[in-house]
Symmetry: C2
Subunit: 114 residues, 2 copies
């Protein structure tokens, strides 16, 4: 905890494979904010889920069909959405592509175990 | 305030010109998180400043020479840093390019006046 509040970890972690078509890595984080890159191969799916963390999603590349709280939202290169705390959300991408997800607070559950 | 806690504003605002070489627009926001796109022409500068909001910066394109709390940090396409609350930070970009800045809480001072 000593340096976390004033210095961010900013070396990307190794990739964590989520399934055959998706993987993620952490790009930078402090306890307050965490930046995560998520790669999708064509047809990749992020199954619907919830978490207390608020999430901003920015599309680096590709087209993504999201459902957030039952509402369909298609976003593409350069678009962004914010998913409030505990809202059910998921996506799939026929094109494949890359999302930049930013969480507040940090997803401690994503950090490599030391 | 009625819908802000469960629905995000996700239509980009108009561009706000900051100076001859830089402009920004808000891509999406809730009270907890705000996603801002900042474009730099070659030689563009973000003068050193502070704010209480925690800031994640993701490089969409270009190379940026940051100074954060006196420490020089050069970041380029796909890199990210997190700037803690009230830390002095600024940047310049010889190449020009685009940053995606995410703030918690939202920068109320960036919102168009209604």
């Amino acid at each position: 905890m000593s340096t976390q509040s004033t210095q961010s970890a900013r070396t990307p972690t190794e990739w964590t494979r989520l399934d055959e078509k998706t993987r993620r890595r952490i790009l930078a984080h402090t306890p307050d904010l965490m930046v995560v890159e998520v790669e999708f191969a064509p047809g990749g799916v992020g199954a619907p889920h919830t978490h207390p963390h608020v999430q901003a999603t920015y599309v680096r590349e590709g087209t993504f069909d999201f459902v957030v709280s039952g509402e369909p939202i298609t976003i593409t290169d350069g678009d962004s959405i914010v998913v409030p705390s505990n809202e059910l959300h998921g996506c799939e991408s026929a094109t494949g592509g890359t999302l930049i997800d930013v969480f507040t607070p940090a997803r401690e559950d994503f950090l490599p175990r030391g």
